[in-house]
């Protein structure tokens, strides 16, 4: 569930408001968006992936949880999924490294396939 939009990192671009499939955020012009419908968050991580400045943290927990902002920021976890996907300036898409074909190869050798 979305737990954090870091006020110190957020540039108020509003991209998270646009891309959220379930309309969780609300933003007043020029301000940092707020998590106004948290219950509707489906933990799909898309806001995090699109955030250009790694200002968001989606907890892997589908239920609400209490987090410590300082600890999250310091852990370096913010933006980690975006990095995995190779999104962002100076990176290239990790889809080019997708090794699913190795899985399909192994699976096709299993009984019943």
């Amino acid at each position: 569930m979305i737990e954090l939009i870091s006020e110190s990192k957020c540039i108020s671009c509003g991209l998270c408001v646009s891309v959220c499939p379930t309309n969780v955020f609300e933003q007043k012009k020029g301000e940092v968006p707020v998590i106004s419908r948290k219950d509707d968050c489906q933990t799909c991580f898309m806001c995090e992936v699109y955030c250009p400045v790694d200002a968001m943290y989606v907890s892997p927990n589908i239920e609400e949880e209490v987090i410590d902002e300082n600890q999250i920021v310091q852990s370096g976890i913010m933006g980690s999924y975006r990095k995995e996907l190779g999104w962002g300036k100076g990176r290239s898409s990790s889809a080019a490294l997708d090794a699913s074909y190795k899985m399909f190869r192994l699976m096709s050798k299993l009984p019943g396939h």
Binding site: P21, Q42, N61, L85, S93, A96, A99, Y101, G112
Partner: protein, 542 residues
Amino acid sequence: MSKHLYNKAIKETEREADADVLVIGGGPSGAWAAITAAAKGARVILVDKGYCGTSGATAPSGTGVWYINPTPEEQEAAMKSREAMGGYLADRKWMLSVLNRTFSNVNLLDSWGYPFPLNDSGGKHRKSLQGPEYMRLMRKQVKKAGVTIWDHSPALELLKDEHGIGGAAGVVSATGNQWVVKAGAVIIASGGCAFLSKALGCNVLTGDGYLLAAEAGASLSGMEFSNAYAIAPVFSSVTKTAFYTWASFYHEDGTIVEGAGSQKGRSVIARTLQTEPVYARLDKTNEDMQKWMRKAQPNFFLPFDRLGINPFTDKFPITLRLEGTVRGTGGIHILNEKCETAIPGLYAAGDAATRQLICGGFTGGGSHNAAWAMSSGSFAGEAAGEYALNLGQNAAHRNVTGISSTPFTSKTDKNHQNNQVVKEVIKDVQAEVTPFEINLFRNVKNLKPSLQRLDSIWNDIRSGKLADVSNRVKARESAAMTATARWMYSSALERKETRGMHKRTDYKEQNPDFHYRLLTGGLDHICTRPEQNLLHREGVKG
């Protein structure tokens, strides 16, 4: 309370437009439909409840694709491999069309710049698509095709006149105000129904398109194949299941759950979960596999990494999360390879349409769904484009009216004070569709009373239970879930056998007498009947 959403007199209409083709839903099927309709020269509007590019089952997750070299031998093997699992309800002619179209569409993706991985000899592996990347590219292509996209604009009602479907109305999420599109043809590509179970990307998928189609008079097909449950860590939304092929499953005391497995042994997991927690560990992997697994599905590891769990060495508690029809195969009945419904001007594609034609009664994932989404989307887009362009000049002046069966409030209070009643309906429907003892291990004893309870929820909705709910989107979603559950259980009761993913504990065997697809439909009175007997078709066994 006013019955319909669309009301010509209403002043608060925020957006109004004409189009040749309106596409409802911007997942892969809707995106392909929009692109192909536009390529025919049609003016296309695509509306999405969420955001075309991030919304739906594919975007946050990613899919293997049924991408097969178009040689007769390879296609034959591909078609044969899943026929038995699907209970021989698929259709070879459809499979072949989908294989061919998928092959050419995936090659198009390559030409559009999708970064397929290279194999050792420099060739490309095109059997897998990473969700965020694929859908970001699709949005770009949709825009490039000149399609107008309205994000955060769920469709809640179809518009119709004596000639057929002529558009839709919905709500702009940000304001709660109405939008209206008059269109010569409408393609429903709104995905399946996973009953707000929080399976990855699935909470936008509440069966809205099924209800829209049924209100127009279209049938649904294969709604008994609607009980997909995916393995996920208890705490997590990530219902990526392929890697559990290499998992062992454990009781609390550390002993193995005998017979449990990702594919065949999922029922064993469900039975065990009915009385105790089950744990998994991906311990049938070696170091080499572990390395490429991370590269194949980064999102699978995301929850584990964040919680400090090593899934290869640590046991973690799992659950089976309902994915309903999303990884089932039921949906709107289509008549032909144009993906036409029986209602003129109304088309269906992707998970919204029945996938039995290529999967029969079982999918569980494994690339057919993605192939179906991109192929049926393309078939529907081309056909709807042609249909709309042939309507001619007068199409713009049709006198259409809204046809929703569930009453809408005309008050659009954005604070949504009175939405408790929606929560109740959702909870009540979930209580009928989530329990394994009703939906997974099916029998007349549990299905019948469950259907009666669902009928009474539906009757309440019809008589106005949600009519004052200011959040019209949520009201409509809960109505659609209720209706979907009723079609599911009506079909499940009718199919007195076990076939594909539909398991009856009171009829444990596949029965040749039921070797047909089941149609269902209707709103207050649900009518279920066999589509066509497949018994005597060549190469098909009961």
